[in-house]
């Protein structure tokens, strides 16, 4: 399309900056000079996708190779989608504005289940056949990576190749192989067979799935020498792992608009509901020196005046004190503000606390996740009521007047007692404030409770549990509301209908592919956004396809059942997950990886926390 016409059309939509490209540090190459063009697609809005660290890492990594040109693609907002469809503008990449159907590889990152309909919508906007089997030629290949690939099955019909685990190495090996096959004029099926031999590459079409009469998986059978199980990849030494020296700096405001410095991967804790805590094992840290060097480079190349540290739990970084000491010094000098998400400050030195207090401005937040100690033990969340109360006391003395608490509802073994415990804990914090003699004068306290719906996820000890129904969830929410007796406590919760769909896809199998396609045809998109989510259409799609969504979400799974994701090996053994689930039933906690190794299986990599001296 003519550039002028295109830009005029842009002026007719909201936030044209989403589609304009031209950001500082975005990468333009000569398309004649590269051998592989990669369309990196984030199946959500520009503002969400541009905030995502994984995309920034891979974008820079791919473009650091001379013969690869990686460009960004986001899901167009519905207003622009209409303009695109009305004017026959195919989905294009931001940098070159070329249609992505002409690219070698179209890669999606799967961050949450509710983006699946957007993936289909983006393929359809691109003019690419949705189903893998309808795309005969080698190009474009449709690939996907990211956390949701740990149960990639619902998308198996659409995606040619999934990458399991961390992408840095496997993606490049894959692209190298692709280059060779493309040059030699090989077919798509020849290439896929060869690619399947790369560790971390999962080619779903090379596995047949059969089902039992009761609907559960009977067997997953590899073909053409494809490996079984398929093991995830990790970066073994994070100090040597590629990290971008610059980020594309967006021209419009996005969700997280700042420099982000990764400090470690994985989490030592092992909270039993948390998928990230299992699929990113084992914990591997960057050194203080690496972190400082990378963070400085990033600030220098972007001009950001804010940097945040990224990990699953900042406080668990083993050298947090020396790290903060260094970072607080140079960021202050450079007039950069350091943001420290949810940091436990209990055992910091007086001097460090002083320094932190000069930058810390975010509110006081805790994630007890459950309302009673019993349930916290069930989920292995080791934070006690006394810890929360004493931190609140300290904070109130320091002038804070609001506290935010995060909980989950619908956890295994949960009773109304546990729900009431949420309100009780909040009430105790309110009381704590009024018992304090030197509390902030003339001010009132506000405790806000935010409750998410628990969704059982694959590769966690709770993968066997039924998700509670929407109706039961609504009842619990109402009950919690009834337990709150003061305006000083505010309460917010998640949309139950989206959690239900999330639960279906999280533990779904290949048969859900037809449902996703049917829902897409009905116009489902942006399901993670309340204003666009239409459960009715989804339910119609399930009925049309003869599939019962409750089978996936609300059914207890036996330990012997073959789960749709069991052949995807995230190196945390099923035996370990089972034993963790049994401990949960008895409300018995498990110490974290630094206290004691619980032999989960992740030590097969020979690296990380599993080999630290204890």
């Amino acid at each position: 399309m003519d550039e002028k016409k295109f830009e005029q059309l842009l002026l007719t939509v909201q936030k044209p900056g989403r589609y304009a490209g031209g950001e500082i540090n975005s990468i333009i190459k000569d398309k004649e000079q590269v051998s592989v063009r990669f369309a990196f697609c984030f199946p959500d809005s520009y503002e969400v996708g541009m905030s995502h660290l994984g995309m920034k890492i891979l974008y820079s990594l791919f473009n650091s190779k001379e013969d690869i040109w990686c460009e960004r693609v986001f899901a167009p907002w519905p207003d622009f989608e209409k303009v695109m469809r009305d004017n026959s503008i195919p989905l294009f990449a931001l940098e070159s504005r070329d249609p992505i159907k002409d690219f070698d590889i179209i890669g999606f990152t799967l961050q949450y289940e509710l983006s699946y309909s957007n993936i289909l919508n983006m393929l359809s906007l691109a003019g690419v056949p949705l189903r893998s089997k309808d795309r005969d030629s080698l190009l474009p290949l449709v690939v996907a990576g990211g956390p949701c690939t740990c149960n990639a099955e619902p998308l198996a019909d659409f995606v040619d190749v999934f990458f399991l685990g961390e992408g840095e190495k496997v993606d490049l090996e894959f692209i190298e192989l692709y280059k060779e096959f493309k040059k030699n004029g090989k077919s798509k099926s020849e290439f896929l067979k060869a690619a399947a031999q790369i560790e971390g590459v999962y080619v779903p079409s090379l596995y047949d799935v059969s089902y039992n009469a009761d609907g559960t998986v009977c067997a997953v059978t590899p073909k053409d020498d494809a490996p079984f199980p398929i093991r995830k990849r990790i970066e073994e030494n994070l100090d040597e792992t590629f990290y971008p020296e610059s980020f594309v700096v967006p021209l419009i405001e996005i969700v997280h608009d700042r420099a982000v410095q990764e400090i470690f991967r994985g989490c030592i804790r092992g909270c039993r509901f948390c998928q990230a805590g299992f699929i990113y094992r084992p914990v591997r840290e960057k050194s203080v020196e690496t972190i400082n060097r990378q963070a400085k480079a990033l600030c220098l190349s972007t001009g950001y005046d804010e940097i945040s540290l990224s990990s699953l739990s900042t406080s668990d970084y083993s050298c947090i004190e020396p790290l903060l000491n260094d970072m607080l010094d140079w960021t202050k000098e450079e007039k950069i503000s350091l943001s420290l998400p949810s940091l436990r400050i209990d055992n910091f030195s007086e001097e460090l606390l002083q320094k932190i207090s000069s930058v810390r401005k975010s509110g006081l937040t805790f994630a007890p996740e459950a309302g009673t100690q019993r349930l916290r033990d069930v989920i292995n969340k080791n934070i006690t009521e006394e810890e929360i109360l004493s931190s609140c006391r300290t904070a109130f003395k320091g002038g804070y007047t609001s506290v935010k608490l995060y909980f989950m509802m619908g956890l295994p073994t949960e009773t109304d007692e546990d729900i009431k415990g949420i309100a009780d804990l909040a009430q105790k914090i309110v009381d704590e404030f009024y018992h304090l003699e030197n509390r902030p004068k003339g001010k009132s306290v506000n405790v806000s409770i935010s409750v998410a719906n628990f969704v059982p996820k694959p590769h966690t000890p709770f993968q066997f549990h039924p998700q509670i129904t929407k109706e039961e969830m609504a009842r619990k929410q109402q009950y919690l509301k009834d337990c709150i007796h003061t305006k000083k406590i505010s309460f917010s919760y998640h949309e139950n209908r989206t959690s239900f769909l999330e639960g279906v896809f999280a533990r779904g199998d290949r048969r859900l592919g037809s449902v996703i396609e049917a829902a897409h045809k009905k116009g489902c998109k942006f399901d993670g956004w309340d204003e666009f989510f239409e459960l009715d259409k989804w339910l119609e799609a399930f009925i049309e396809c003869g599939i019962d969504p409750h089978f996936y979400a609300n059914r207890e799974r036996s330990y012997n059942e073959i789960n749709p994701w069991d052949h995807l090996d995230y190196c945390v053994s099923k035996e370990f997950l089972i034993s963790q689930n049994e401990l949960a039933k008895g409300a018995i906690t498990t110490p974290h990886c630094r206290k004691k190794c619980s032999v989960c299986g992740a030590n097969v990599f020979g690296k990380g926390v599993c080999f630290e001296k204890r």
Partner: protein, 225 residues
């Protein structure tokens, strides 16, 4: 003893062009964009005091989203009196990318409140079709535009007398209109008003157009510096 000079801030005015893909950056977003560019440049600029210090920058005259410009004014303050300001454009151009080009730098002669007008070049992708109609439209003694007031009401406004330096050209593919309109804190007329009024009056096929701000002027009609 501190000498006075240590604290004296030097006002510096920069002029740049903003084109191509950067047209889609709103005025508010431009503020953030330039703050980051200035931060990356490591120029000795003055930072505001306080909890979140940021580089002090001011834009003399906001530019509408979608417009290109050949004369955008950015004011900064330097803390180093001896800094060779002639170097600044090159330093910033090395950071900004291809859609921004700093081409002039000087110590300001006028306060930004003294901006009185701006000149535009509006080119229509009409294949020369609308030249006659547009010429007739602009020859009228009274040209009524609808303008939104600050309160949100629509006001009818005759802008015929306010248009200055008007010229229309016709080429094979385009009709190009040059004109100057009041601009600044006292009175501000966006050329979109005129274009909308023209399209409404003609109820004819709509043609794409591009608006380029070519100059910012003072009361005497001289280039604002």
């Amino acid at each position: 003893m501190f000498s006075e000079r240590v604290f004296a801030l030097k006002n510096v005015r920069l002029v740049y062009t903003k084109k191509g893909r950067l047209r889609f950056v709103s005025h508010l977003d431009m503020n953030r964009f330039m703050s980051r560019v200035i931060k990356r440049s490591r120029l000795p600029v003055w930072y505001t005091e306080g909890f979140n210090p940021h580089a002090y920058i001011t834009f003399a005259l906001p530019l509408s989203l979608g417009f290109e410009s050949e004369y955008e004014i950015l004011d900064i303050k330097l803390v180093d009196d001896n800094f060779d300001i002639a170097k600044i454009p090159d330093i910033l151009n090395g950071i900004c990318g291809e859609y921004i080009n700093f081409f002039d730098v000087f110590e300001p002669t006028l306060k930004t409140g003294l901006i009185a007008a701006a000149s535009y070049e509006i080119s229509f992708d009409d294949g020369g079709e609308i030249f006659d109609k547009l010429s007739d439209f602009l020859k009228q003694d009274s040209i009524i535009c609808s303008k939104k007031t600050k309160k949100g009401d629509i006001k009818q406004l005759d802008i015929a007398q306010k248009i200055k330096n008007m010229k229309i050209e016709q080429s094979d593919n385009n009709t190009v209109l040059h004109l100057t309109l009041p601009s600044g804190s006292e009175e501000n007329l966006n050329p979109e008003l005129l274009i909308t009024a023209f399209y409404e009056a003609n109820q004819k096929e709509y043609y794409c157009y591009n608006v380029l701000r070519t100059a910012v002027l003072d009361k005497e009609g001289k280039l604002f510096r």
